[in-house]
Structure formats: C-alpha cells, structure tokens
C-alpha cells in the first residue's frame, strides 16, 4: 500500500474517521534556488558538488551573504531545510582564508554535538583541508583536551560546558578567544524561560571574555518556527540581528490530522487513552509498510509504546526488531545504530521522546504520530517536520489527550494552523539569574566599577555582593573573594534554584523525578499519593532539609489533596491598565504558601475517606505577577452569590493557568494562578497569575502587555468543552470548583472578555 492509499483508507474508515476532528492538507512547494556566492572558496563548492549539492536554496545563499557582510543573523526555516549548511560553509570559508580563525558551536544537547561533528568531518574530508573540529563536553577525554584548546578550529559544545568548563578557565583557551570569529547558536527556541535567561547571561560573559582578548565574534543563530525569533535572538545576544525566514527548500504535500479519541466518561471528561490509539494507528502503518516515527511525552511512554508496536508487528509477521525505541538514556552507540537504521530503511518505526525533535539527522520518514500535544505549537511543527521527504507526500497525526491544551487545540484547529506559534520569552535581567552570572563573571575577570553587565544597575549588584563579602571592592575594581567555584553551584537548567528530588525505594534507590521547592509541600508531603507517569507512589518520608522525598510504588483507590493557604502580598505596582470595571495590574509580589493538612479522596466517587496533618515550613517566593481585580460594579452586574464566588474564581484561575502556555512559550509548571475572593491588597475579588520562579522570568509581564488572546482563549476553551459541569480538561473537576463552577466561569469570562476585548 502506498502512503496515498493509506491516507485514503484512514479518511474513509468509519471507526477512525469519527475521531478525526480536523484534516488539513498543505500543498507542496517547489524549491527556490539562490546563487553560490563567489566569495566561497572553490574547494568547498567542489566538496558540496561531490555530495550532490549543486545549487543552494535561497535562504542558504542569503544567510551566507549576510554573514559575509558581517551581520548577526537568525535563520528560521523548517526541519531538514539545510540550516546547518548555511552556517558551516561561511565558517569553513573563513578558516580556509585565515587558518588562525576560530568558531564556537553551541547546541543544547550532547547528542546534537555528535551529529554536527560527523557532518563537519564529512565535509572537511571531502575538501581535503586541515581544519580541526572537536566536540568538547563531559565525555571528552582529558588527554585530548589540551589539543582541542590549542588547535581546534571549530569547538562544538553545549551551554553547560561553556558555563562550567570553558569560561571559568579562559586563560587556557587563549587561542580560541583571541581568534573567535563566529559563534553559532543552534536551536535557540530551546533557550527560553529560565534556561534562555541563563543563556543570555552566558553570552554576556562570553562577550566580556572576548573583549578581554580583543575579539568580537559574529553570532549565527538558528531557530525552529516561533513567533518572535529575531526578538528572542536579539534578547540573547544583545546585538542587532538580521532575520532570514524565507524558506527556499521544497516541501512535499503534507496531511496534518488532528485526532481526538472518543469520550469514555463524560462526567470526568476522560477520553480513550492516547496509547491505545497509537497502537491501533501503528498497526495500519505497519501493514502499509510506511516508515514512521511516534513522539511520546515521556521516557516510560516510549518503552510502553515500543513494546505494544513490536507485539503488533509480530502478529503481522514483521520482524519486531524493525520497531525501535529512542530516548535519552540509551547508549550513544545504540542511538547511532537506530539513526542509521532509519536512514537506511532497515528500521520501519521508531518511538521517541522529543530527543529526535532536534536536528539529529535521521533522514525523512513518511508518517509522524504525535502521541499528545507536545506542549508548544513550535514543537508540534518540529515533530511533524520529521515526516515528509522533500518531494513526497507525508502524513502527521496529532492525537489529543484529555488535558485542557490538547482539547483546546482539537476544538480550535484554526488557532493551531493559522496563528503563528508561541513567543520564546527570556528575561536575562531576572535579578537572581543576573546575580549568579555576575558572580561567575567576577570569577572570570574582575569587574571595573564603571562596567555594565546586563543592566545599568549592575553596579548595585556588585556592591551588594561586596557587602556580603563575596567580592572585594578595591581600587575601582571588584575581585572574586571566595574559595567557591561559582559556576559549579549554578545550574543553567533547573527551574528553581532548589528542587526536591523524588526517590523511589521500591527497587533500590532510583530517582524518578523532581519537583520545585514551591510545589513540594503540596505534592510530596508525607503520606501524599504522588502521581508519576500514571503510576501511584506513596510518600514515605519528606526530608525537607536534604530536599529529598522517599516514595514507594503503590496501588490504592484514592488520591490526596493538600490543603494549602496561599497569601500574596503586593510589593509594588509597576503597571496598571483599566478596562471599565476591571483592573489589570502588574508588579512584584511575595507569595507565601503553607501546607497544613491533606484529604484522602476516593477515586471516581470522590468521597472523603480520611485526612491528616502536614507540618512543613511556610515557603516564600518573591516574583512578578499579573492580577485582575473585579470592581464592585462588575460584580453587581453579574450577581454571583457569595457562596459560589470562590468556586467560580477558582474555575477561571484554573483555565487561565491551563491555557497560558499556548500564548507564551513555557511549561505548564512555569506559571501559577491564585484566586482570592477578597484580596488583602485591593479588598476585591482578584485573580493572580504569577511566574513560578523567584524574581520572575517575564511570563506574566508578557501577558500583561498583551492580555487579549489569553482571555478570549480561556472563554473558548470553556465554551467548547463537552463536559457537563467542569472537568480537568477545562475549569477543573467539579469537586474543586463546585457544581456551578463551569457555568459561572463562563459567565465571568464572557463579561471579562467583553470588557477587555472591547478596547482591543
């Protein structure tokens, strides 16, 4: 069966077609070619010709021209459009003309570095040139490091290694920093939120060191499609950047199917599981012998799905080894083998985490199945891009789970297909993150009094650190005065400076996850039932001082619900907008939460079957928040009884929090909402939406500056959810928001939307 025939079959099969909520066909696009710039050394062109590349796509040749002109660029084109070539050629060209020249490549993961190294090696071998490229990361043998520092023309590394292994030791990298011409930042859409804010500071440190050695590198950034690539790149490198986003690579015809499994419990809004649906669809793909990839949301799901699909293959007399899993945690050699198998066609199907979403070369497959919405529209397109050889038809099927975001997209395909994807938001000036990197910077090179790092007020941070005796202020300079190696204490990736690690004691001590400090008292207090990958765990002990929760796998018929008191103290109002009887404000707040007790609640019936006390300290976090105050005239108009207002506000707050990640590129845990019937600050009904990171990283600020889509999106979500009176896919369970919660939330959101969007 050809892919076209398979597509026809899926469209017409009565059982499958009833689950299809939208079928989008995107027509093919012919290639647009560009000239080979004449400044490119003939030996590179010859090498490319040998590899069968005789022409450049328009975006590649434009990128080379801009780079030649000395501009910083950000290149935004889909997966497999030849971005790598667009920067490798100018970098190699520069090294050919100036053998002292150096380049630094930064990839978010080690696996990508390896892939990149191979590609460069192949090209250099064909060119027969003496250009040395190395990866430098935790796996690099100590014996090789010296040679890399001295003679590596292109050093490929990751942000963590640059942060801890290279910048703090810049004096042994003199050759690199003195001659650094290009810095390549690939996959910059990954650098968002906390990680991106750290990266912005890492680049500040890198540039500071380059200035010390007298170099001024040019930045070449690449990104998947996001709403604001140029803005994100400019925020990270803090220099003007030229956007190149006109894709010249051809694309084949694409079918993009939104697939919503049937409802099996209307009251709870539970649908048939994604896993079941993937298994069924995969059988059809196997039968048709088309090559496919399944993106699962977690490592455990990868294993389960691989097992299921292999079983299906066996029944159909297909060698089960033609189906493979792929995820972090597999050995590098094994991963190479799978990548190779996909390219050669010896592997028919692969089940992967988002590890294969990044630019690792696996060739192009026929079908891509997204087992659940991957969290951002940008990711969804990246994953869809894995299917589709340049000239052939391809198929992507996104299967929805019951979560609010998934359900929203199923009901609003226009949103998914028409709107541009999310914005990547970073705030390199988050004070805590900035201070962390000022410490690292002071360790690297003493700060001058008149030096500015990031913000005008950086001097004040230096003073603060000097008062704390971390720095020494002497003779107009700030010197590092501690025996601590600061980069070692600062992780670029953790969402919070402190996390509680969850250790499963069922079979030996195994770390199964972590929760941020602020959520830990609610989720992993003693006696809690902690849910992880759909498994239940009982928390035997929470060692608060050591930040460890010890859990054990159980199977019980109840869950626990922590009773917490949250207080929000407004510290400053930095911005305020008024929409008739509605006030929207933004500023600094102090959030304090204390968990005092928990309830045991029986699954399905929701009976209260027990309770207990929790003794944990109150947790405070200073962050940035947006809040919405409902004025008396607003409330009068709606006439919601006081007894039901709490549930209604909770319902609205839940929708806001659930849907916010659609508009700002962040993980669901990055933003929190708290409703208050009578907020201490305003004495009015208020909903707070705050960044779940000390100091804030710009998420609530982004919503403040453009609140309209969030509010209309929230209303649409509630209105289109088929549940009767609230479910976890929209306003939250009835138990939490009350019998009338969903109805009242609709009323509230209708009015809020009317007020806010009437001014838009």
């Amino acid at each position: 069966m050809t892919l076209e025939q398979l597509i026809d079959y899926l469209k017409n099969d009565p059982e499958i077609s009833q689950s299809i909520s939208f079928w989008k066909e995107i027509p093919e696009k012919p290639p647009i070619y560009g000239e080979f710039p004449e400044f490119i050394n003939p030996s590179i062109q010859d090498a490319l010709n040998t590899r069968g590349i005789n022409k450049l796509y328009s975006h590649q040749s434009e990128a080379m021209q801009r780079i030649q002109d000395g501009q910083n660029i950000v290149l935004v084109t889909p997966t497999a459009s030849g971005k790598t070539l667009a920067y490798n050629v100018p970098v190699l060209n520069k090294i050919l003309s100036d053998p002292d020249s150096r380049a630094l490549y930064l990839f978010p993961t080690k696996a990508l570095s390896q892939d990149q190294l191979k590609e460069l090696h192949d090209l250099i071998t064909l060119m027969n040139a003496d250009i040395r490229t190395y990866t430098f990361d935790g796996d690099t043998p100590v014996t090789a490091r010296k040679a890399i520092r001295k003679s590596g023309h292109i050093v490929i590394t990751n942000p963590d290694m640059l942060h801890q292994g290279i910048l703090p030791h810049h004096t042994i990298w003199v050759k690199l920093f003195e001659n650094l011409n290009y810095v390549v930042l690939d996959e910059i859409h990954h650098y968002r939120g906390v990680f991106g804010s750290h990266l912005g500071n890492l680049i500040r440190r890198l540039k500071r060191i380059c200035r010390f050695y007298g170099s001024k590198p040019q930045f070449i950034c690449c990104s998947a499609t996001i709403a604001n690539p140029a803005d994100l790149a400019a925020r990270i490198i803090e220099e003007p950047v030229t956007l190149i986003d006109k894709n010249g690579a051809p694309t084949g015809r694409k079918h993009f199917v939104l697939f919503n499994p049937p409802i099996i419990n209307k009251q709870l809004g539970i649908r048939r599981s994604v896993v079941t649906e993937v298994r069924k669809l995969a059988s059809h793909l196997l039968a048709a012998r088309v090559q496919f990839i399944v993106f699962a949301r977690s490592r455990v799901k990868v294993e389960i799905l691989t097992k299921y699909i292999r079983e299906a293959a066996k029944k159909m007399h297909i060698d089960p080894q033609k189906v493979s899993g792929y995820r972090g945690g597999y050995l590098p050699l094994e991963r190479r083998r799978i990548e190779q198998g996909l390219k050669s066609g010896s592997i028919l199907g692969v089940v992967s985490t988002n590890a294969l979403e990044l630019g690792i070369d696996i060739g192009q497959l026929d079908v891509s199945i997204l087992a659940g919405y991957p969290g951002t529209i940008a990711s969804a397109w990246q994953q869809a891009g894995r299917a589709g050889r340049r000239s052939n038809t391809s198929l992507t099927i996104m299967i929805a789970s019951s979560s609010p975001l998934n359900q929203y997209l199923m009901d609003h395909p226009d949103y998914f297909f028409e709107k541009s994807p999310e914005s990547g938001i970073v705030d390199p000036n988050n004070l805590l993150i900035l201070m962390s990197h000022i410490k690292c910077g002071a360790f690297e090179i003493p700060f001058r009094e008149d030096e500015i790092f990031g913000i005008e007020g950086s001097r004040e941070i230096l003073e603060y650190l000097a008062e704390k005796n971390v720095l020494r202020h002497a003779d107009g300079k700030y010197f590092w005065m501690s025996e601590i190696f600061p980069a070692e204490e600062i992780s670029l990736r953790s969402a919070s400076p402190d996390n509680v690690v969850i250790i499963d004691k069922t079979r030996g001590d195994r770390v199964i996850g972590e929760v941020d400090l602020f959520s830990a008292p609610m989720l992993v207090h003693q006696e809690a039932i902690y849910m992880h990958e759909t498994n239940q765990y009982h928390v035997d002990e929470l060692d608060w001082d050591r930040k460890k929760a010890y859990v054990r796998s159980v199977s019980v018929d109840y869950f626990t619900d922590a009773i917490t008191k949250t207080n929000i103290k407004v510290l400053s109002v930095d911005e305020a907008k008024s929409f008739g009887p509605l006030n929207l404000s933004y500023g600094d707040v102090n959030v304090s939460t204390v968990t005092t007790a928990y309830k045991k609640i029986k699954l399905f019936t929701h009976e209260n079957v027990g309770a207990g006390k929790v003794h944990l300290p109150e947790i405070e976090m200073s962050t940035t928040s947006l809040w919405m105050e409902l004025m008396p005239e607003f409330m009068e108009k709606l006439g919601i009884p006081d007894s039901q207002l709490g549930g209604a506000l909770q319902a609205v707050a839940n929708v806001f929090r659930n849907i916010a990640p659609l508009f700002i590129m962040c993980d669901p845990g990055d933003i929190r909402s708290v409703p208050m019937v009578r907020a201490p600050f305003s004495q009015r009904p208020t909903i707070y939406l705050y960044d779940n990171y000390p100091g804030g990283v710009g998420l609530s600020l982004k919503i403040m500056s453009y609140p309209y889509p969030l509010i209309s999106g929230a209303l649409n979500l509630v209105k289109s959810c088929p549940c009767d009176s609230g479910c976890p896919s929209c306003v939250g369970p009835v138990l939490e928001v009350g019998e009338k919660g969903k109805f009242l939330a609709t009323v509230l959101l209708e009015e809020i939307n009317k007020q806010v969007n009437s001014e838009n």
Binding site: T171, L432, Y464, G695
Partner: protein, 423 residues
C-alpha cells in the same frame, strides 16, 4: 537603600559570608601596612600606587646530613635525571634553580583563584634563602607578578611539589590575566612529587609533603595550619586588615619551601649512592624497579643484586630476582637469566611470569622442547590445583597461554621425532 538591593535582599536566600563589616574594624590607614614591618619583620615594596610585602628568611643547612654531599657535588644533582623522567634535568644545578610554592584563595583552580602568597627558595653556600611575596590586596597583583618575573631572571630551573598540576598552571593564569608575559614556559620544571612517589609510594600510604617530611626527613610540624583553612584566613585578613593573621600562613609556606629543598637534596643523595643512603629495602626496590622500567639497567643491577643477596624481605627478594633475570635476558646473558628464573620457580611455584619466561627460553633459545613441556605440564598441573581460588589464583590469567604453548610444543616434538626417524 536602592531598589535593586532591596529586591536582592528579598530574593537571595544564601547566607552572607561572615557578616562582620570591614569598614568599622579597619585600623587607621597606613597602620596595617607598618604592622607588616613591625609584627612580621617584612618589608614593603612600592611602585606607582601599588605595594606588596616581601619577607626574607634564611635556613642554615649545617644540621642537615645531606648537605656535605651536596657541597661535594658542587650544587649538581648529577643522577637526578634517572628518577625525574626528564632528560633535560641531566645538568640540574641548584644554583640555577628556584623552588616555588603558592598559597591560594581556593583549591579548585580557574581564573578566579588568586595566588596571594608566592614563596621562592634557593640555596646559597650553606643556607637556604626563602623570599615570600605577599599580596596585601587584590589590586596589587600586577606588582607581585612583576617581582616574581624578575626573580626568575638568570634561573633555568623551577622546582615544586605538585606544581605540574596546580601551582604552575595557576601562576600562568595570573600572568595572562594581568597581561604580563610569563617566563614560566622558558624554565625547566621539576615536580618533586613524581620522583618522591616513585621512591616512596610502595612503603608510605601517602606521599604528600607533610607525610614525607615526617617519614623521610624525620621532621614534624608543630602548630601547622591545615591547608584547607588558608583561603579563609586570607579573606579574614582582607576584611580586617590585620597583618598578624597571616603569620601562620607565612610560616606554613616557609616550611613548605625549606622542606621541599631538603627533600630534594635527600633524593639527590639517595640517587647518587642508594646502597649507602637507603635504609629501607622497599625504597631501594622501588628505585631499582623504576630504573629497570626506564632501561637504566646499569643503575638497577647493583641494587637488585644487593636485594637478592642480602635482602631480608622474602617477597622483595623474589621480585628482585625476577627483574634481575629479566635484565640478564635483555642483556643477552641467557644462562644467568635461566638459572635465576629456575631458582625463582623453585622457591615460588606459582610465579606466572617466571614460568612463562622460562618456557620461552627452553622452547626458543635452547629448543629443548621436552624440558619446556615438562615445565609447562608442571605449571598446568599446579594451575589446576589452584583453580579453586578462581580469579585469585596467580596462574589464572596465564592458564590458556600455557595450554596453547603445550599444544604447540607437542606438535613440535612429534614433528621433530618423525624427522629424526626419517633420517
């Protein structure tokens, strides 16, 4: 107070490092500088707006037994290159050498670690001169480095203890950061840690300097400060500006240098005449073994012969026998080598390497296949006997090799006998 600091106070939950403020406790300007002179007997070196502290000390050598030999050798340590592993130390001359030891603001390295005290030592006539250059505050580092650079003028060697991996790279970082060309790379660097380990690792658990002083030189430090406290002491001094706080650090560094020099002389003396000056058979053996591994056979031979003939430790004796016969073999004295291997096997039946060596000798040199087979059969028999020990059996690893040799020998013997018959 500014808003940024307010916010930081709120956000930052890390504790302050010793909250005592430096402003209030500061002595009157200038007084703390004269304290270096008054209380520590140091002098102040000034240039432009900077200054550093120099403390000079002497250590008389007459008490030290190594000294006489040193004078005889005219400051040369002629045999040192056998143990240093660096042929450039062939003409090592103490007159042209500076010994160095740093005290630093941290142990993790990296560009934020300062060398706040640089001790340099050298030998003059009958005493050691130690000059300690101290950084009174961070901004004067350029002047410190300038003096260090000048101190190296006319020197060809630099010697340290563990300087290869710590002191020298760190000092090189400091030069680069201050944009001063470093002279370090023009000097031949001898890291005494490595020869010391070669000699004493077998006998002593730890080869750090303090332990070597005690075990080798018989010196014990009294009231010495632990190394890991040194950064904190310096930071406290910086905050309080009390010169006296550094007294113990200066003393610690002074003894590091003095003992490093004495240890070096001690090693020099040992190398020059090991049989005379080595009191421990283990040290002698370690030295001989290192010589053997680096093919200094003439130097190794007398030591091994001594251990073989007069040694009291039976284990060392056997190991010496093995190396000795290996040297004979390499020098072509196959008979002497064979006799020794045989003697060794008769005292230790499970000496795997000797067994293999001897089998090789019979098979390839003498072409005496029957003797070789006999020997291997005994070895196999014994390895079967030891099989119950599993991997702990000394013959475990060579059993397959023995069987392989046996099969080959049997083939050779049958071929040889059939050839003999046909003649």
């Amino acid at each position: 107070m500014s808003s940024i600091k307010d916010k930081l106070q709120r956000l930052d939950r890390s504790p302050a490092i010793r909250s005592e403020s430096c402003q209030t406790e500061n002595p009157a300007t200038g007084k703390w500088i004269t304290d270096f002179q008054m209380e520590l007997g140091a002098s102040v070196l000034e240039e432009k707006n900077s200054f550093i502290i120099l403390k000079e000390n002497y250590f008389p050598l007459y008490k030290n037994s190594s000294y006489n030999n040193l004078q005889e050798a005219n400051y040369f340590l002629p045999h040192f290159h056998y143990i240093s592993g660096d042929p450039r130390t062939r003409d090592w001359n103490l007159r042209k050498t500076l010994f160095i030891d740093l005290e630093t603001t941290g142990l993790s390295g990296g560009t934020g670690t300062f060398a706040f005290l640089i001790g340099l030592g050298h030998v003059e006539l009958d005493h050691i001169v130690v000059r300690q250059y101290l950084l009174p505050d961070f901004q004067h580092e350029w002047l410190l480095l300038k003096h260090i650079k000048n101190a190296f003028v006319g020197r060809e060697f630099i010697a340290s203890f563990n300087g290869k991996s710590f002191d020298i790279p760190l000092l090189r970082n400091r030069f680069i950061l201050n944009r001063i060309d470093s002279v370090l790379d023009d000097l031949i660097h001898i890291d005494i840690l490595h020869p010391a380990r070669r000699i004493w690792k077998r006998r002593l658990n730890s080869c750090d300097l303090v332990n070597l002083e005690y075990a080798v030189l018989g010196e014990e430090r009294i009231g010495d400060i632990p190394g890991e406290m040194i950064p904190q002491i310096y930071f406290e001094y910086i905050r309080k500006r009390q010169a006296i706080l550094l007294r113990d650090v200066l003393e610690h560094n002074y003894y590091d240098i003095v003992h490093l020099i004495i240890l070096t002389m001690h090693i020099g003396k040992m190398i020059a005449d090991p049989l005379e000056s080595c009191r421990h058979e283990e040290d002698l053996y370690s030295l001989a073994r290192y010589y053997y591994q680096n093919e200094h056979f003439s130097e190794a031979l007398p030591l091994l012969q001594h251990l073989y003939e007069l040694g009291k430790d039976p284990q060392l004796k056997k190991e010496s026998m093995f190396i000795l016969s290996m040297i004979y073999k390499k020098r072509g004295d196959t008979r002497a080598s064979r006799d020794l291997f045989q003697a060794l096997i008769s005292t230790q039946k499970d000496h795997a390497e000797a067994l293999q060596e001897l089998a090789k000798y019979y098979e390839h040199k003498e072409k005496n296949y029957r003797s070789a087979l006999e020997l291997i059969d005994r070895g196999i028999e014994y390895s079967l006997f030891l099989q119950q020990l599993g991997k702990d059996s000394p013959l475990h690893d060579i059993k397959d090799d023995l069987i392989y040799r046996r099969n080959r020998l049997i083939k050779k013997i049958s071929k040889w006998s059939s050839e003999a018959e046909s003649e």
